[in-house]
């Protein structure tokens, strides 16, 4: 039904590399689910049902990981034995952290002052930096450069910051 020893890319029939064609990813995921989803095995015996559950859950996990650029980068690192997950390794350059802390404070002030233009500009800035980091990460991953884990952590940090500021804006607008 599915070879559980394969990595997420292989399960979806993709090459194990950072650059992913999002359309191809989605097509591969849907095709796989059509074959393994428990709805296809509603009348099967319990063993096959359990297998379908595991296979379909694995397909969901692979798709969820690969369609999110940061998670995809982290996953590629984990395949090389590097844990970039920010929850277990939070080392970041002090200058970087200071800069983001200031941005967070600026966002809260702008939010209190109902200054949406500043918030919007802040989100744009952070998103632009994150996009630049993504290019870095893509290049470094292919070059197998050890500094890449740090870049991935910074990148995740910026994406989270942009999402948080966006949520702050939405809480006012909606």
């Amino acid at each position: 039904m599915i070879d559980f020893s394969r990595n997420h890319f292989e399960i979806l029939g993709l090459r194990t590399e950072y650059r992913v064609d999002v359309d191809a990813l989605e097509r591969a995921y849907r095709e796989l689910q059509r074959n393994v989803h428990p709805d296809r095995f509603a009348r099967a015996d319990d063993a096959r049902k359990r297998l379908a559950l595991q296979a379909s859950a694995r397909a969901n996990e692979a798709y969820r990981t690969l369609r999110d650029p940061v998670a995809r980068a982290e996953y590629l690192l984990s395949l090389r034995g590097i844990d970039a997950n920010a929850q277990t390794d939070t080392r970041l350059p002090v200058a970087f952290l200071t800069c983001q802390l200031e941005r967070r404070e600026a966002a809260e002030e702008a939010h209190d002052a109902r200054d949406d233009a500043t918030l919007a500009a802040l989100v744009d800035d952070v998103r632009r930096e994150a996009a630049a980091l993504e290019d870095d990460v893509a290049r470094l991953l292919d070059a197998d450069d050890p500094v890449v884990a740090m870049r991935v952590r910074e990148w995740r940090f910026l994406v989270k910051l942009a999402d948080d500021v966006e949520a702050l804006r939405a809480s006012r607008a909606l």
Binding site: P38, R43, L53
Partner: protein, 618 residues
């Protein structure tokens, strides 16, 4: 059967019997059952032609009544007539609302809520099973035999206990459950397949007691739920109560007796329904305590007293949009589901929020059951060629209690199901061999703000220094949205044993006991079922004979015709009676009486077919 069935020449017979598959919408106010017939989903009516079964169960002096008959007794027999039981599914006594406490006598006990009736203490699972049994019997009569598989719908925002309770009720009612399906998703299937829809849709489902909002992407035969949210304790019922509260306040009524409260509630519901069409609704009631009451509710007042309820639907809508990473303008269409969306102020609020008129071309009362029937038909394997795929999500995050009364989320809300996720935990003390785990569902940080699903005890952990053990706890949510948990000590590979104590559910032993009790009545049930099946046979036999007579009566002489007519009359007379053996005997007699007729028809048909061939060949 003597009447050989003969196909038209050159038309191949049906390949194989289809499995009897049904979709059931087990609603707060009404329940429905549907099936797919000749490729189209249809709701099945009862003997009187009604498709809606009032979700009301009355434990009477001699028998259990379900539906309108039970509803009619609600005011005179309030404590033993249970309505809106869906709101108590998977709940404890502490969850019961004031209105529910006024209406019923609850048994004061821990765990799952129990209602005292003259038939004994009943759990919401048992009450719901009565409703499902009534629907099952209705479908068996219509489809001519036992149900092979059922899809039962649940509100998308139902948590694990509520889902499990629903599945238990179906099992207790003797239904083989193929799948639990989220109500808005069911509606989207019916709507999407009907309209060949593509794009991003919001399904706004306000039922009798529950509210769901689901955002779905429909694309190339895939129904993908992007986000879901809701309120499993908000529905049309609350609008009825708002009207009652308004009557009590504006007429300065003293505290109502249970019977008067039921009377007023019925009047409030009528007024609510009338206001979907009219500008004002007169309310006239005679109360046992206070006598005649007359008051008029106009649309503007109704709007004003229910504005808070309508507002409460919009917060989940906003959250679902945020979770789907969409703005209001990203929604291509809004589908309204649930009888409560007939209220004008609800429609107006939805249209206003999304800036477009909602879609209402499918009956909001039936669309969920129809979608469930389509899913059931597919899962039962009746249409292998059906190529659509459904990807649904869990509505609420699942997690475990950690130190300090906080919840560690393991599966986040809106994860596509099925999902399997594991997390490692470790021991707190040296030599610790057991661990207590508390499974919770909800979005809040603190344990006390989330819903307790179950407590687990892990035993058999090998003694090690504190922090050395690696216990991997795995959460698996299946395609029904139901959770199961397993645990394993990683360093030694010891499989820790688990004992589960559901917080607001029934244990396997309790379900087994209830099933056993139902077997005590099973002799009656089996007899009733056998009678029903014989009736179906008899009806089929009558129809086949009538059809044969209409086409080929000229083949019979007067004596043969008289014999068949007499046998037919016997079956007709016996079918209304409750004697299965006598009915079966008349069916056999009719069978014998038509044997010669069938043979003659066969000859004629064959010669016609051959004649046709010859013409073709020339």
């Amino acid at each position: 059967m003597a009447l050989f069935q003969i196909c038209e020449p050159d038309v191949s017979p049906a390949p194989r019997a289809t499995r009897r598959a049904v979709g059931i919408d087990l609603g707060t106010t009404n329940s429905l059952i549907a099936t797919v017939r000749d490729g189209a989903a249809v709701v099945l009516p009862d003997a009187d032609g009604r498709v809606l079964l009032a979700s009301v169960v009355r434990y009477g002096e001699r028998e259990i009544e379900v539906g309108d008959g039970a509803l009619a007794h609600a005011a005179e027999d309030p404590h033993d007539t249970i309505a809106s039981v869906k709101r108590l599914m998977g709940r404890g006594l502490a969850d019961a609302t004031d209105a529910q406490r006024r209406a019923y006598r609850f048994v004061d006990a821990e765990g799952v809520v129990r209602i005292a009736t003259r038939a004994g203490a009943k759990t919401p699972v048992e009450v719901s099973a009565e409703i499902l049994k009534t629907l099952r019997v209705r479908a068996e009569a219509a489809l001519g035999g036992a149900i092979d598989g059922a899809v039962v719908t649940v509100p998308a925002y139902f948590d694990d206990s509520q889902r499990q309770a629903t599945k238990d009720a179906a099992t207790l009612a003797g239904l083989p459950v193929l799948r639990l399906l989220n109500e808005p998703t069911a509606a989207a299937i019916a709507y999407g397949l009907d309209n060949d829809a593509e794009g991003t849709y919001a399904v706004f489902d306000l039922g009798g007691g529950t509210f769901d909002i689901s955002i779905l992407r429909l694309s190339r035969g895939v129904f993908e739920v992007l986000a879901t949210n809701g309120d499993s304790a908000l529905g049309g019922d609350d609008f009825d109560h708002a009207i009652v509260d308004w009557i009590v306040a504006s007429s300065r009524l003293p505290a109502l007796s249970a019977a008067d409260a039921r009377r007023l509630l019925a009047k409030a519901r009528e007024a609510k329904e009338l206001l979907t069409q009219e500008a004002a609704a007169p309310i006239v009631a005679s109360l046992a305590d206070r006598g005649r009451l007359e008051i008029t509710l106009d649309a503007a007042t109704f709007d004003a007293i229910t504005r808070g309820l309508v507002e409460r639907t919009l917060a989940p809508v906003r959250q679902a949009l945020r979770d789907a990473k969409l703005s209001r303008s990203g929604i291509d269409g809004v589908v309204l589901v649930g009888g409560a969306t007939r209220m004008r102020q609800v429609r107006a609020a939805v249209a206003d929020f999304f800036g477009k008129a909602p879609l209402t071309d499918l009956d909001p009362d039936q669309v969920v059951a129809l979608g469930a029937a389509i899913q059931a038909n597919k899962l039962a394997g009746n249409r292998e060629s059906d190529d659509w795929l459904l990807l649904d999500v869990i509505p609420l995050s699942l997690g475990l209690e950690t130190m300090g009364g906080l919840v560690e989320k393991i599966v986040p809300r809106n994860s596509t199901i099925p999902v399997v996720r594991a997390q490692d935990f470790t021991t707190f003390r040296d030599g610790q061999t057991a661990m207590a785990l508390h499974v919770l569902q909800g979005e809040r940080e603190k344990v006390s703000d989330c819903r307790s699903l179950a407590r687990f005890e892990l035993r058999g952990i090998p003694p090690m220094a504190a922090g050395a053990a690696r216990i991997s706890v795995s959460f698996a949510v299946d395609a029904d949205g139901l959770l199961s948990v397993s645990a394993r000590e990683q360093t030694t590979g010891v499989e820790a044993s688990i004992t589960v104590k559901p917080s607001y559910g029934l244990t396997d032993a309790e379900i087994a006991r209830m099933l056993e009790e139902s077997f005590a009545h099973a002799a009656d049930d089996a007899a009733a079922r056998a009678l029903e099946e014989t009736r179906v046979d008899a009806q089929r036999m009558i129809a086949a004979t009538e059809s044969a007579l209409a086409h080929d009566a000229t083949l019979l002489d007067a004596r043969e015709r008289a014999m068949i007519d007499a046998a037919l009359a016997d079956v007709r007379r016996q079918i209304a009676r409750d004697d299965r053996d006598a009915l079966a005997a008349t069916v056999r007699a009719l069978n014998a009486a038509t044997e010669g007729f069938a043979a003659k028809r066969m000859d004629r048909s064959v010669s016609r077919a051959l004649a046709g061939k010859r013409v073709d060949a020339l």
